[in-house]
Amino acid sequence: MSTVSGKEAVSTEKATRAVPDHDPARGRDQAMTAGQAAGGRPIPPPRAVSAPRAWLRLLGSEVGLTFRRPRNLAMLGVLTVIPVLIGIALRMFAGTGGDGTGAPMIFERITGNGLFLTFAALSLLVQLMLPVCVAVVAGDSIAGEAGIGTLRYLLAAPAGRTRLLAVKYACVVVFCLAAVTAVALSALLVGLLLFPAGPITLLSGGTIPFLDGVLRIGVVVLYVTAGMAALGAVALALSTLTEVSVGAIASTVVIVIAAQVLRAVPQLSVLQPYLLTEWWSGFDGVLRDPVAIGDMGQGLLVFAAYAAVFCSIAWARFTGKDITA
C-alpha cells in the first residue's frame, strides 16, 4: 500500500542508507543520525517548519491516505447504506411491525417522525457495525505500516515516535467522527425524505422544535464519536503490539463482542459500569427533559479513562519498541 507521502519519499533514501548496521533497539537514534548524515543533500532543514505546522501537515497526509483507501471508503459507504435500508423497510412495512414485544419502541416512533431514524440508526449501529469499522482503521494504523515495511521509513522522518503516534490517533478520531457523521447524515436525509418531520416528542413526553432536535442529534454524534474514539485507543494499543494488522483488528472486535456478552449476563451486572460497550448507547439522555447530563457525563468519563489508559499503553510500547520491519 502506498503510505509514502512527499516527505517520507525524501527520507526513504536516508533510511535505506542507514539500514545495513541495524541495531533495531536504536531505530530512532539511527533515524536521527541518518538525518544528520544526509545534511549535505539539498533537503529543507527540519527546523524550517514550525512544530504545529509540521504536525498538521503530517496529520493532513495521514487523513488524506485514510480517506483515499478504497477499503475505508467502502466501510463508510456501508455505514451510509444501512440507515437507508432501515428507512425503506420501515416505510414499506409500516404498521405491520409485529406485536411490539422485543423490538425497541423507538423504531415505531420513526414512522411518526423522521428525526427518530437518526437516533434509531445510531443506537443500532453503535453496537457492532461502527466498532468494527473503527477497529479496522485503528488496528491497522501501526501494525499495518509495520506489516508492509513502511513504518521504518515513517520513523526515519524527523518527527519522533510520540508525534507519529499522536498523529495516528488523531487520524483515527477523525475517522470516527466521519463514520458517525456519515450514519447520522444519511439517516437524517432518509428520515426527512420518507417520513413526516416536525417537532420531536421526547422520551419524557415533552415536545421540542425541529431545529432543537437537529441540535441534539449533533450532541449525540459527538458523544458517539467520543465512545468510538475510546475504542480506537484500545485498537491502537493492540496495533502497537503486533506487526500483523489483522491480529489487532480481530482482537479488538473480539474484545467488543466479549464485552457485549458480559453485558448480557445479569449475574455480572457488577461489571457493567466498567464496560466500554455499556456506555455507547447511553446517549438517550438527550431525549429526556431536562437533558440527563449526569449519565452522559459519566459515559464521557469512562471514555476518557479508556482513552487515557490505552493511549499511554500504546505510547509506552511504541516508543520502546524494536522496529524491525
Partner: protein
C-alpha cells in the same frame, strides 16, 4: 541492549501503570476521600432530639427540591427468570440490581417522578388537580382522575402507581413506627449523603433471630429531610437494600417539569386512581387479584422485628395455576416457580414444608397450606409454625 535502554523502557511503562492507578484510585477512593475530608461539623444531637426535629420538619412540609434517587437491592433471591414483556423498569426487575428514579418536588401539588429506562421513560406528573402517567414505551399518556372529596389523600397515594416511587420520606415514616423497646438506636453526625452533611440514625434489633442486622437512616444535616435508608442483613457487609438520593438540590425545580401536554400521536387514556392501582397491584408482587380478601385472613405471630405473617395459601396459587390471563399473572407464576424450585424441605412438630431463605426474608410454605413470611431465621419460622 544497553541497561539504559532497558531502564528507559521500564520508565515508559510506568506511565500507563500510573494512568491505571489514578483511574482505579478515582473509582475506589472516592468514598474514602469523602470520608476522610468529611468531619462535617454538625452539632451533636441525641436520637430523640433528631427524631423530634425531623418529625417537626416533616409536619411543616417538604421544601421544594429535586434530585436523583438510587435504589439498590441485593436481597439474595434465587435467580429469577426473565419474564417477557417486563422490561428494565418493570417491578420485577426492581428486585435486584440498581435502579434510578428522578424526583422533582415543587410543593404538595407539584410533583414529578421519572423512571428512566434504555430509550424509554415512565413519568408521573402531578400538577394541581392534573395527574398524568406517561409511558414512552407504549406511547401512552394516561390522565388520572381524582375522586371528588378525597383528592388530597389520592394525590398522596398517587405515587403508588409508579412502582419504584418510594422516597426516603415514606420509608422513614414506616421505620419510625417500628422503633420500640426491642431496638438499639445510635446516632452519628459525620455522614455524607449526596454531597451533603447528614446525621445517621442506626436501628439495630436486639433479637438474634432477626435477619436484619441494622437499618440506617440518614437525615440531611440542614433540612432534616431523610436522604437515605439502608437495610443491612446479618449475612453481608454491604446493604441488602438501599434507597437514597445520589444527588439532591433544595431549590424550586423549573416549572416546565410539572406541565404535561400529551404529545401528538400518543394514545391518551383516562382512568381513575382506583382502577390504576388495581391494574398495578398484582404486578407489584404483593400477591394476587384477591389481595384485599387475603389481607383479612393474614395473621401474625410475634411482634416488632421478628413478626411473622401467616397467610393461608396453596402451592397452586403460588405457581400461578388458575391465575388470570395476562403477562402480570404469568410473570408472578414464573417467579413463584423459580422460588419454589430453590426451596429446601423442612419439617417439625407441626408437619413439613418448604423453606426459602434470602438475605432479609425467610418464607415457609407448609404442606397444610400456610405461608409464613418474616425477616427472621428459618428456625424462628418453624417455631412460629408450631404455635399455630
Amino acid at each position: 541492549m544497553s541497561i539504559r535502554a532497558r531502564r528507559g523502557r521500564t520508565v515508559r511503562w510506568a506511565v500507563p501503570a500510573a494512568a491505571i492507578a489514578v483511574i482505579a484510585g478515582a473509582i475506589g477512593a472516592g468514598p474514602v476521600i469523602a470520608a476522610v475530608q468529611g468531619d462535617p461539623a454538625l452539632p451533636e444531637r441525641t436520637a430523640e432530639q433528631l427524631l423530634a426535629s425531623a418529625a417537626q420538619a416533616g409536619r411543616a412540609g417538604l421544601k421544594p427540591m429535586s434530585g436523583t434517587v438510587m435504589q439498590t437491592a441485593s436481597l439474595g433471591l434465587p435467580g429469577l427468570p426473565e419474564v417477557p414483556g417486563m422490561g428494565g423498569s418493570s417491578p420485577v426487575a426492581l428486585l435486584s440490581g440498581s435502579h434510578e428514579l428522578k424526583v422533582w418536588y415543587g410543593g404538595a401539588d407539584k410533583v414529578r417522578f421519572a423512571l428512566p429506562g434504555r430509550m424509554s421513560e415512565t413519568d408521573l406528573i402531578t400538577n394541581g388537580d392534573q395527574v398524568w402517567l406517561w409511558q414512552s414505551d407504549e406511547n401512552r399518556a394516561t390522565r388520572v382522575k381524582a375522586g371528588s372529596g378525597e383528592r388530597g389523600e389520592e394525590a398522596a397515594r398517587a405515587h403508588e402507581a409508579l412502582p419504584t416511587a418510594t422516597t426516603p420520606q415514606q420509608l422513614a415514616q414506616q421505620l419510625l413506627r417500628r422503633v420500640g423497646a426491642d431496638t438499639v438506636v445510635s446516632v452519628s453526625n459525620t455522614e455524607k449523603v449526596a454531597d451533603r452533611a447528614a446525621y445517621q440514625l442506626a436501628f439495630a434489633p436486639k433479637d438474634p433471630s432477626s435477619l436484619v442486622k441494622e437499618v440506617k437512616l440518614a437525615l440531611d444535616g440542614e433540612t432534616l429531610v431523610p436522604l437515605r435508608v439502608q437495610v443491612y442483613a446479618r449475612s453481608a457487609a454491604e446493604p441488602a437494600f438501599e434507597v437514597g438520593f445520589t444527588s439532591v438540590t433544595f431549590s424550586p425545580p423549573a416549572a416546565e417539569n410539572f406541565t404535561f401536554t400529551p404529545p401528538t400521536g400518543a394514545k391518551v387514556e383516562e382512568t381513575s386512581l382506583a382502577e390504576l392501582l388495581k391494574e398495578r397491584r398484582p404486578e407489584r408482587g404483593e400477591g394476587f387479584e384477591d389481595a384485599e380478601k387475603l389481607k383479612s385472613e393474614v395473621g401474625t405471630v410475634g411482634e416488632g422485628w421478628t413478626t411473622v405473617a401467616v397467610i393461608p395459601v396453596s402451592e397452586q396459587e403460588l405457581t400461578g395455576q388458575g391465575q388470570g390471563e395476562g403477562s402480570s399473572g404469568a410473570g408472578i407464576g414464573a417467579i413463584g416457580d423459580a422460588l419454589l424450585k430453590s426451596a429446601k424441605p423442612i419439617s417439625g412438630t407441626w408437619g413439613s414444608g418448604k423453606v426459602i431463605q434470602t438475605k432479609l426474608v425467610s418464607a415457609l410454605l407448609t404442606d397444610d397450606g400456610r405461608l409464613l413470611v418474616g425477616a427472621v431465621t428459618p428456625e424462628k419460622l418453624s417455631e412460629a409454625a408450631g404455635r399455630k
